[in-house]
């Protein structure tokens, strides 16, 4: 060792350290309390209700749900089902099978599955009365009965009627194309002068053209 190096001074191996009796300072506890308050507020705003589907920057599941994109297809089907359940299911039954001798079935019906909604659009607007024959795609015997359906053209607007028809045309194995509100509007305009219910034979004579076609 050169003279420049001071030897490390010996530490007396003294007694073990002892501990004093002082208390925890009160301001530290107050600070803890403030932090607690801050923490609760922070979690209130930032914890998304402890829901595993809430990621920042959203604040709650309701906010996330409200931002889901509008899907017109699903929306229309939901609306149509709603109308059907409230108004049509009473007679045609929720399973679309109707009641023998009273209400015609909708499931598998050739009327429903027609390529264009020319006929059924008019039925829901002005009603139907007379003897109607429904051929079923399942191959069973045709159903004939005396129809007595009330008009709905004044109860619902074009959008709701189109939605209900779309629902019926796509439920229970039916394979019809959707009906748009524009088509319903055209049908309503074309049948504006009609008084009373439609007769099934008159409807069967109508060609199945696109209501929107000129």
């Amino acid at each position: 060792m050169s003279q420049n190096d001071k030897p490390i001074s010996a530490t007396l191996d003294t007694a073990e350290p002892t501990v004093g009796p002082a208390e925890v300072p009160i301001w530290l506890l107050v600070f803890l309390g403030c932090l607690f308050y801050w923490g609760i507020n922070f979690l209130d705003g930032h914890a998304g209700g402890f829901n595993n589907q809430v990621f920042e920057p959203f604040d709650s599941v309701t906010e996330v749900a409200s931002l889901q994109p509008y899907d017109p297809v699903r929306q229309q089907l939901a609306m149509g089902k709603d109308v059907f359940d409230k108004t049509c299911a009473t007679c045609h039954q929720p399973n679309g099978m109707g009641k023998a001798g009273q209400f015609p079935p909708l499931a598998g019906s050739d009327w429903i599955n027609a390529p264009m909604p020319t006929r059924i659009g008019r039925i829901v607007l002005n009603g139907l009365s007379g003897s109607v024959t429904v051929k079923l795609e399942s191959g069973g015997p045709p159903v004939s009965l005396n129809a007595a359906m009330a008009p709905l053209g004044d109860n619902y607007d074009d959008e709701h009627l189109a939605a209900a028809l779309t629902y019926v045309r796509q439920q229970w194995g039916n394979h019809g194309s959707p009906v748009t509100a524009e088509q319903m509007k055209a049908i309503r305009a074309a049948s504006a002068g009609k008084h009373g219910s439609w007769n099934p034979d008159d409807l069967m004579k109508m060609p199945l053209t696109d209501p929107l076609a000129k």
Binding site: I8, D13, P17, V19, F42, N52, Q53
Partner: protein
């Protein structure tokens, strides 16, 4: 205060019987510490290599073994499992013996456990360099290696618990709570992650959540406890003043245990916002134990701070405490969402992590080692501290403290600048990179100085052992 004033409830003649007690644990504890130092040297050399590769990517790029990703993984794993845990164990076991006034239980078992531990770490290092890492940060050793580490740890900590159990009846000193807490804590967090990540991995992003939880617990709680045990013992002892308040120490211990384990989830990560929210709140709450510790020690040493020249242990311990406060407060600040938007995924978090590990844990363990080693290696010496070579000690101190400081400041600057540039999307990524390169180049001096300092310390330790014979020879000489 002279030796005769020491309270002698259980020990008859303090000086002799104390060292007699401790000589029992000399071999295992010195082995733990010695091995830890060697791994620390290797870890800092690898860190240096990684740092150089950051701005000289062509260096050794042709070697798969030494590609940046593997070297970085190896360096971090070696620090944690090669140095951090063994050093914590070594200082903890010694503290339990010293404060409990009892022999170390099962020294042969501890030595054997350490042998297996070091063997596993070697195997783990080789596995990482060969690409068999797990992909989880801080848990890169493959499952087989991790299992051996867990078993070795359990064996060693059981000896520690038994030592604690046999302590002389006396009120517990705060350091003992920290040591025992640490022993349990690592066993618990390590076995949890072994199960949830290595054995039956959790689903998807949960793995990341568990990994972040583990890293945070490892640093804040486990390494925090280990370092604080040392700090709470050496600062009052070497300044010859009583620790200011037992209640405050208990408060700090329980608060750190409670809230220190919440945290570590970066803001913006793909987890539901409640997990991130809890993490932020928990991290901010750690301000309370930090303050409790600082007040306690400030009051302890008020008006009587001796010249730090006096004692290497005190010097290193005080520096370690300072870095702990800085690193912990930085972690609190970085957890806040508004700050995190700037600093997440930048060098800022790396700076904090490195300061915590190399600044706080390493320095505190150095301090403990400077005190413990000569007393174990040369139990009969009247002035054990003078057994260290002063020149090497001074070199070690200045090299490591400068290394930590320069590395920290440059990474901090690099991180802040990178964050600012990155948050402006008009800056191309290359522009962001170029802006922080100068600071990155400067940060290489950090691990460089630290590695040299550790080498110097190893040399000092070697001369200590050589001059005083190895402890087993010493004991044979006694008998």
């Amino acid at each position: 205060m002279s030796v005769t004033e020491a309270p002698n409830r259980a020990a008859a003649s303090p000086q002799l019987s104390r060292t007699e007690i401790e000589a029992n644990g000399a071999v295992p504890i010195l082995y733990l510490f010695g091995g830890a130092l060697v791994w620390l040297l290797l870890a800092s050399v690898l860190e240096l290599l990684a740092s150089v590769k950051l701005h000289m990517p062509g260096l050794l790029a042709g070697s798969a073994l030494l590609t940046y990703g593997r070297v970085q993984a190896a360096s971090q794993s070696l620090f944690i499992y090669g140095f951090g845990v063994p050093a914590a164990l070594g200082s903890g076991l010694w503290l339990l013996c010293r404060l409990g006034k009892t022999r170390l239980a099962g020294p042969g078992v501890v030595t054997l456990g350490t042998l297996f531990w070091n063997f596993a770490v070697t195997a783990g290092l080789w596995a990482i360099l060969r690409g068999a890492n797990t992909g989880y940060a801080a848990l890169e050793f493959p499952r087989a290696v991790a299992s051996v580490l867990l078993i070795a740890y359990l064996v060693i900590s059981v000896c520690g618990i038994v030592t604690f159990h046999h302590r002389a009846a006396a009120p517990l000193y705060p350091s003992q709570w920290f040591v025992v807490g640490a022993l349990f804590w690592f066993a618990w967090i390590y076995s949890t992650v072994m199960g949830l990540l290595l054995c039956t991995p959790a689903r998807g992003v949960l793995q990341a959540s568990v990994d972040w939880w583990y890293q945070h617990n490892l640093s804040t709680v486990y390494f925090g406890f280990a370092g604080l045990a040392s700090i709470f013992y050496f600062i009052p002892k070497l300044t010859r003043r009583p620790l200011h308040s037992r209640l405050q120490a208990a408060f700090a211990f329980w608060m750190l245990a409670l809230v220190g384990s919440w945290g570590g989830i970066p803001d913006g990560s793909p987890l539901p916002s409640w997990i991130i929210g809890m993490s932020v709140v928990g991290t901010v709450f750690t301000l309370v134990p930090i303050l409790a510790v600082v007040i306690n020690l400030r009051e302890t040493t008020a008006h009587s701070m001796p010249s730090l020249d006096a004692n290497p242990c005190l010097r290193f311990t005080c520096v370690g405490l300072l870095f702990w406060v800085i690193a912990s407060v930085q972690e609190v600040v970085a957890a806040l969402p508004s700050v995190g938007a700037l600093t997440n995924f930048t060098w800022f978090t790396v700076a904090q992590r490195d300061l915590f590990r190399y600044g706080f844990l390493a320095m505190t363990m150095f301090g403990a080692f400077y005190y413990i080693a000569p007393r174990l290696a040369a139990p009969k010496s009247a002035s054990p501290d003078s057994l260290w070579c002063p020149r090497l000690y001074k070199a070690h101190f200045w090299l490591t403290i400068l290394g930590v400081f320069i590395g920290y400041i440059s990474l901090l600057a690099a991180g802040l600048w990178q964050g600012v540039m990155l948050n402006n999307s008009a800056n191309s990524f290359m522009a962001v990179l170029k802006s922080s390169m100068t600071a990155i180049r400067m940060s290489t001096t950090g691990p460089l100085l630290f590695a040299v300092g550790t080498l110097v310390f190893l040399l000092n330790f070697a001369q200590l052992l050589k001059n005083n014979c190895c402890p087993c020879c010493q004991r044979k000489g006694d008998a």
